[in-house]
C-alpha cells in the first residue's frame, strides 16, 4: 500500500498548521506598514486556508477541496495582478510604499492612527559596505581603481 490512512489526527495536524499560517498572516497585515509586505501577508493567509482545504479534501475522500484550492489560486493570482498595478500607481503618486500616507481614505470621524513625527532617524552601520570579491577579468580599465567607501541609501 502506498497510501496510509488519513485519520482525524492527521487532519488536525494540517488544521493547526493552517490556523498558524492564517493568524501569522493576519499579524503581518495588521502591523506592517509596507504595502508589498501587507499584500504578501494576505497571500500567506490564503496559503493557510489552502492547506486546510487540501487536508479536508483528503479526509473526506473527494476532490472538492482541491478544486476549491485551484479556484483560490486563480483568485490569488488575479488579486496579485490588480494589487501590483495599484501599488505601482500609488507609488508613482507619492514615491513611497507607506500605507499611512493614504490615511485620508479612512472613515470620517476617526483620528489619525500614526505619529511618525516621533520617529528616530536611520542610523547606518559604520564602515564601508562589504561587496563580494569578484575575480578580475578582461582588460584593465584605464582609470585608477577606487575602493568603495560609501554605503547605499
Amino acid at each position: 500500500m502506498t497510501d496510509y490512512a488519513f485519520s482525524f489526527d492527521q487532519l488536525s495536524n494540517y488544521l493547526i498548521l493552517g490556523a498558524a499560517l492564517m493568524s501569522l498572516g493576519m499579524l503581518g497585515f495588521l502591523s506592517r506598514r509596507n504595502l508589498i509586505v501587507m499584500f504578501l501577508s494576505a497571500e500567506m493567509m490564503l496559503q493557510g486556508t489552502a492547506l486546510t482545504l487540501v487536508s479536508f479534501s483528503r479526509f473526506h475522500g473527494n476532490w472538492t477541496g482541491q478544486v476549491f484550492t485551484i479556484v483560490m489560486l486563480t483568485v490569488a493570482a488575479s488579486e496579485a495582478a490588480l494589487a501590483l498595478a495599484l501599488i505601482l500607481v500609488l507609488f508613482n503618486r507619492n514615491r513611497s510604499l507607506d500605507i499611512s500616507l493614504w490615511q485620508g481614505l479612512r472613515e470620517s470621524g476617526l483620528p489619525e492612527s500614526l505619529d511618525t513625527d516621533k520617529a528616530e532617524p536611520y542610523v547606518p552601520l559604520p564602515g564601508p559596505e562589504s561587496y563580494p570579491n569578484l575575480t578580475p577579468s578582461g582588460v584593465e580599465p584605464p582609470h585608477p581603481r577606487q575602493p568603495w567607501e560609501q554605503r547605499r541609501g
Binding site: M1, D3, S7, F8, D9, S12, N13, I16, A19, A20, L21, S23, L24, M26, L27, G28, S31, R32, N34, I36, V37, L40, S41, E43, A50, L51, V54, F59, H60, G61, N62, W63, Q66, V67, T69, I70, L73, T74, A76, A77, S78, E79, A80, L84, L86, I87, L88, V89, N92, R95, S96, L97, D98, L101, T116, A119, E120, Y122, P124, G153
Partner: protein, 290 residues
C-alpha cells in the same frame, strides 16, 4: 463535543503568551526606534519556544519518512512565516514568503495533492514572487525607510492575532480530544458514508448521490501501481465543476483587463503644452524614504 482539559488549555495559553511577547519584541518598534541585539534575541528565543510548543500538538503521521518530512515542512513554514512578518527589508520578506510557499507545497504533497503542490510552486514561487521582487527593486528602500522600520500598534496587533490563533487551535484540539475507542473520529468522513450500503442506509444514499463517482479520490493502490491523480482531478474539474472553470477563466480575463487599465501610465493633458511631462515626475520630494 468535549471541552479542553486543563493541560491542553495551559499549553495553548503558554503558546499564546510566549508568542505574544516574542512577536512583539521581534516586530519593528512603534515609532521606528532601533532594537538592541539583546531585545531581538530575547524575542527570537520566546517566539522559538512558542513554535516548538506547537510540535507536541501535532501527531506523527505513521511511518518514519513521512513523519520526518512532515515535521521538517511544518517547522520550516512556521519559521518562515515569523521571519517574513518581522523582516525589515521587504526583499527578505518576499524571499521568506517563497520559503513558506515551498514548505506548504511540500505539505500538499504529503496530503496527496501532487498537482496542487506543483501548481503552487509555479504560480506563487514562480510568478508572484518574481513580480513582487520586481516592484521591490523599483522601490529600492532596503529596509531603511521609516515605514519599514516601524510597525502599526505591534503590541495590540500581535495580541489580537495570537488570541485568534489560540482560539482556533483550542477548538481544533478540543474536537480531537473527543476520541475514544468507540468513536475513533469525532468528525464523520464522507468517505466512510459513501462506502455504506445505499439500499439500507439513507445517509449513504444521500452521500453517494451528492458525491458522484468522478468526484471521489482514487482508492489507494498496491505498491508500484500509481493511482491516476491528475487525470482524476481533470475529470472532476471538467465534469462536476465545469461552470466554475468557466467562471475562473472569465475572472482571470477581467483581472488582466483591469491590471492593464490601472497600470498604464496616463500622460496628463495640458492645454498649454503639446507634450506633457512624464507622470509622477512632478510629485514632491520623496516622502518617508531615507
Amino acid at each position: 463535543m468535549t471541552l479542553l482539559d486543563t493541560r491542553d488549555f495551559g499549553w495553548i495559553l503558554a503558546i499564546v503568551a510566549l508568542g505574544w511577547v516574542g512577536m512583539w519584541l521581534l516586530l519593528p518598534h512603534r515609532h521606528g526606534g532601533s532594537r538592541t541585539t539583546r531585545v531581538t534575541s530575547v524575542g527570537a528565543l520566546l517566539a522559538g519556544i512558542a513554535l516548538l510548543l506547537f510540535l507536541p500538538l501535532l501527531t506523527p503521521p505513521g511511518p518514519l519518512l513521512p513523519t520526518l518530512f512532515f515535521y521538517a515542512f511544518s517547522l520550516l513554514s512556521l519559521i518562515g512565516a515569523v521571519l517574513m512578518i518581522t523582516a525589515r527589508d521587504p526583499v527578505y520578506s518576499a524571499l521568506w514568503f517563497a520559503t513558506v510557499v515551498l514548505a506548504s507545497s511540500g505539505l500538499f504533497l504529503l496530503a496527496g495533492a501532487q498537482f496542487l503542490a506543483a501548481g503552487t510552486v509555479i504560480v506563487y514561487a514562480g510568478a508572484i514572487i518574481v513580480t513582487f521582487l520586481f516592484v521591490l527593486m523599483l522601490a529600492q528602500s532596503h529596509g531603511q525607510a521609516i515605514y519599514d522600520r516601524s510597525a502599526r500598534r505591534p503590541l495590540a496587533s500581535s495580541f489580537t492575532s495570537l488570541l485568534l490563533l489560540g482560539a482556533l487551535v483550542a477548538s481544533i484540539v478540543a474536537t480531537g480530544s473527543g476520541v475514544t475507542e468507540e468513536t475513533p473520529s469525532p468528525v464523520v468522513s464522507v468517505n466512510d458514508l459513501v462506502k455504506g450500503d445505499p439500499a439500507t442506509e439513507p445517509v449513504a444514499l444521500v452521500a453517494a448521490t451528492a458525491v458522484r463517482e468522478t468526484a471521489r479520490l482514487p482508492e489507494p493502490h498496491e505498491f508500484g501501481q500509481r493511482p491516476p491523480h491528475v487525470a482524476g482531478l481533470g475529470g472532476t474539474l471538467f465534469t462536476d465543476h465545469l461552470l466554475a472553470v468557466e467562471v475562473i477563466g472569465l475572472l482571470l480575463f477581467i483581472a488582466l483587463i483591469g491590471a492593464v487599465a490601472i497600470a498604464t501610465p496616463r500622460i496628463p493633458v495640458r492645454p498649454d503644452r503639446s507634450n506633457g511631462s512624464a507622470p509622477g515626475s512632478s510629485s514632491s520630494a520623496p516622502a518617508g524614504t531615507a
